[in-house]
Amino acid sequence: MTQDVPTFKQAMLAALPSLRAFALSLSGRPDRADDLVQETVMKAWAKQDDFRLGTNMQAWLVTILRNSYYTQMRKRGREVQDSEGTFTSRLSVAPSHDGVMDMADFRRALNDLPADQREALLLVGASGFSYEEAAEICGCAIGTVKSRVSRARTRLQAVLDISGPGEYGPDGTNVSVATRVFAG
C-alpha cells in the first residue's frame, strides 16, 4: 500500500477554487482573473522544485498570483491607487434597494478600495490567512497588513452604514426636538 500523499498536481487542483476566488475578488475582472490563475499555474509548475509538499500550497500560489497581478497592473500603466486615495469622493455607492446592500453593491465597494487594502482584507477576511501569513504573502510588515485591513474595514463599514437603514436620518422625533430647541 502506498501512502496517500497528494501529488503536486492534486495539491494544486485542490487549491484552485480558493485561488480563483482570490483572483476574481482582487482584480474585480472575471476575464483577467482566469488569465491570472492560468499564469499562476504555469509559473507554479515551472517552480515546483521550490515548493515542498506539506507546506502551504495556497499561500505559495496566492503569492505568485498577487505578484503577477501587480506586475500586470504596472505594465498596463495603471497606477495602483495609493492608500489615502480617492475613496471619500466615491462613498456614495448607491444601494440598489433600501436598507440592503446586495453582493453587487458589496463587490463595487470592494473594488473601490485601494488595491493594497483590498488585498489585505481578502487575505485575512476571506482566504483565511493569519495576519502573519498575509504579511509574508505581501512582503510587508504585520503592522502594515493590520493597518490596511483596518482602513479597508472602516471604509467598507462606512458604505454599509450609508446603505443600511437610515437610523441616523432625520426622523419625526429628531425634527420636533430640533424645532423645539431652536425655537426656544
Binding site: 498536481k9 494544486m12 487542483l13 484552485l16 477554487p17 480558493s18 480563483r20 476566488a21 476574481l24 475578488s25 482566469d34 490563475v37 492560468q38 499555474v41 504555469m42 509548475w45 521550490d50 499561500a59 503569492t63 505578484n67 501587480y70 506586475t71 497592473m73 504596472r74 495602483v80 491607487q81 495609493d82 492608500s83 446592500m101 453582493m103 458589496f106 463587490r107 470592494l110 485601494p114 488595491a115 493594497d116 482584507l121 481578502l122 485575512v124 477576511g125 476571506a126 482566504s127 509574508e136 504573502i137 505581501c138 512582503g139 510587508c140 510588515a141 503592522g143 502594515t144 493590520k146 493597518s147 490596511r148 485591513v149 483596518s150 474595514r153 472602516t154 467598507l156 463599514q157 454599509l160
Partner: protein, 71 residues
C-alpha cells in the same frame, strides 16, 4: 517562502509611514461582522463554480509534458 517576491514589489508595498497614534487606527476585523460575512459569501459563490476546463486542460498538459520528459 522565498523572498524573490521583493524584486517585483510594487511601490505601494513599501511599508507605510508610522501611523498616527490614534486609538481607532487598528480595528481588527471582527469575523462575525457583516463585512466578514459578505467576504465569505463572495468567496463561496466563486468557489462553488466549476473550475474552467481551460485550467484543467492546462494542468493535464503540464503533467503529461513532465511525464514525457522524465521517460
Amino acid at each position: 517562502m522565498t523572498n524573490s517576491v521583493d524584486a517585483t514589489m510594487p511601490p505601494d508595498e513599501r511599508p507605510d509611514p508610522p501611523a498616527p497614534p490614534s486609538p481607532l487606527e487598528f480595528q481588527p476585523l471582527d469575523f462575525r461582522s457583516e463585512i466578514a460575512d459578505k467576504l465569505r459569501q463572495l468567496y463561496s459563490e466563486i468557489e462553488r463554480e466549476p473550475i474552467p476546463d481551460k485550467l484543467l486542460d492546462l494542468l493535464e498538459k503540464l503533467d503529461e509534458a513532465e511525464a514525457k520528459s522524465k521517460r
